[in-house]
């Protein structure tokens, strides 16, 4: 079984680097980037099974990327986890409304992240049904 390809997009290099290390250790095939453009490029190349994206990316924010991916039939089934540094509940609601499959509020622990990923896998079948 090949490893799941997970793309991390976060402007903070420390978070991106650490998450890459940790998730690789968890058995994912991880690529980290700091830009939405690069992320979209990888997705278009078919190089992603799962996306972990920060809501506050420069130029094009994470929620907007999420909406764009979910609007495209080719990518709408790609599970997306949005990470947000905002404490406001409205941010979670908005991200969910625009297609995020899970929202993680910073700071979170590895356990939180693993929990979200497990839930996503369980929900994959449901997402497929929606499509």
């Amino acid at each position: 079984m090949t490893n799941k390809k997970l793309i991390i997009a976060d402007e903070q290099p420390v978070i991106a680097r650490c998450l890459k290390g940790l998730l690789t250790h968890e058995g994912y095939d991880v690529e980290a980037t700091a830009s939405a453009d690069r992320l979209l490029e990888i997705v278009r190349g078919g190089g992603a099974d799962l996306i972990l994206i920060d809501a506050d990316l420069p130029r094009q924010n994470g929620i907007s990327v999420c909406q764009a991916l979910k609007a495209n039939p080719a990518t709408r089934d790609l599970p997306i986890v949005v990470m947000s540094a905002s404490a406001r509940a409205i941010e979670t609601e908005k991200a969910t409304a625009l297609g995020a499959d899970a929202v993680l509020r910073k700071p979170f622990t590895l356990d939180d992240l693993k929990g979200a990923l497990v839930k996503l896998r369980a929900g994959e079948a449901r997402t497929a049904l929606h499509a």
């Binding site: 907007s64 404490a87 406001r88 908005k94 625009l98 509020r105």
Partner: protein, 725 residues
Amino acid sequence: MLEKAAERWSLRLRIFLFFALIAAGAAAILCAAFFLLGRELPPSAISHLALYGGGAGFAIVGLVLWVWIKFDDHVARPVEALARDLHAAVHAGSEKLPDAERARYLGQLAPGIVEASQALQETRARVDTAITNATARAERQKKRLETVLRDLQQGVIICRLDHTVLLYNRAAQHFVAHAAAGAGSAPGGELGLGRKLTSLIARQPLRHTLDRLTRRFEGGRYLAHHDGLMAPFLAATATGHETMKGRMSLVLDEDDASPIGYVVTFDRVTEELAAGIWRERLLQDVAQDVRNHITNLTMAGELLLSGQPLSDEEKEQARATIRSEPRILGERLDRLDQVANDIFAAAWPVAPVFSATLFDSAATRRSEDRAIKVEQRGTPVWITCDSASVSELVDRIMNRAAVWDQVRDFRLETERNGERVYVDIVWRGQVVPESLVEEWLREPLDESLGAMTGRDVLTHHKTDLWCEAVPESDGDVRIRLPLAISSDLEDRPAKSSVAIPERPEFYDFDLFTRHPPGALDDMPLKALSYIVFDTETTGLEPSRGDEMVSVAGVRIVNGRVLRGEIFSTFINPGRRIPAAAAKIHGITDAMVAEAPDAATVLPRFHDFVGDGVLVAHNAPFDMAFLKKRQADAGLVFDQPVLDTVLLAAHVFGRADSLTLDALAERFNVVIAPEDRHTALGDALATADVLLKLFDLLEPLGVSTLGDAIRVADRQAAIRRKQSAY
């Protein structure tokens, strides 16, 4: 003596006496002449002489009588009539002009008087019209001012220098009532005309501020002072439950020579202050806490990285710390974020607005003059927001969407979701990309809102908006804007439960000039404050277990019944109400089941009475019930007491009926049938009767409280004697 009596004689009588004197004098002279002549003439001529003399005498008297009749008719009577008419015209304002025809023999006198009367009437009419107009104008302006003052959101209280309240408005009354309710005492009625403000608001700040202002005035420093005769102050209510941020201004007399009182305007800042203090504490706590948790994290990290040999337990502890600390830090940061949001939102005026109103204003705004059609759907709800900026934002979004998606027809809808409501702008078309929505939100809105952008409006409202497809629809999309529902709207009537009548007696500037109180007994009756009250009971015998089921009172200050300052409550008597009693007052066991008991009600009523005079119709009866329960409540009703039955007995005598109904009828005091035999209805009627009695007592020499108590005591003594027989 005669001269004095003559002064009181009428003109006609005097003229008559004058002619009578002429006639009598002429007769006397004639008699004397004939008497002297008779002595010179032979006796045979005497009989002729007497005949001619008598004839001449009668002729002269007849002539005088005839002249008098003519004179009376043509001069004396018309002069008296003219004088009467003139008197009536001058003093009683009669409009009847003097009859010039009757006085035609008086030359120019009658026409002159008629002209003078006409001129007087015309002048009087002009003055009357001017006064009526001026009064109406003043009354209109007064009403407007009353309305403004009454509905002002700020509390306003005007007091004399001795802190006696002369004016208060609705906001001030609510503030005090709210404070009292918070302290568990009587809601409402505490703030009243003629009461001391110092009994409601902490004495020290009031006195201190007044003292400062008085000294500033006396030293003349106010002329150059930045704040003039005003000083801000912060004070708590006497109960300590509410805090107010106020300003005090001195009121000077007409000559600006000395202060006669002060105006206090204030805002309730209890929540603001509490929130401020809470935020301050929270910020301190959180900052301190965050430092501790970061230290924990650092130490755990340092320990793992130190390279020294660690036991498995130590390693696991350090890992657990690293895993748990971020969660705690996250919680602390959430609280900080909440404080930041609150501070931001507090500076922003939000108020409940009906969604239909909000939509109407967004739909009719037409800022960009596009042919957009707007339809409203959904159940209208009350939304807490700043309607100006939100409707501007909704209008802006519709205009942008109209251009981008080439649409004209929009629907504005509401959808309730818990404590929030979604305001949806719906149309048939495509989902607007989030990045474009963000662009729209970055544009400045209307100029009148300054350089504010849509994003600023959303931040102020602690919300956001986004575009999404409407689920289960035929190609509809919506921009969804979550806003807060006005959940406190249901609380609003409760807050304003203190009823203020449409035109309440909420001010009385005559109190400015009221004489300072001397000994209570020597005070003029109308200058005192009264609490006219009535009780309804389970029966007539307090000594045999009968109890109060209701007590109500109304205040009279400066000779006016203050219908805005009433006390009225049911009392749980702790026993059954006999059917016979319930038949009279209509109060049943069920109605008093939830009511407080006498021990709870009496302290509130005692506060309401204050240092006023207690008045009741057949006061011994009501006082017996109050006194029966006063010990339970730990207080004494030792105020002076007046009884309208005894006062009426002094005025009308004991033969007349002195029931409340009989007195009310005599004085044209109307008691609605449904109010008769309710404590409040009877108290109000008794209050009106009392004021009418004061008017009748004064001519009888009863003008002070001492006089009134003396005559009442005398009547009571007479009654006791009568009943002894």
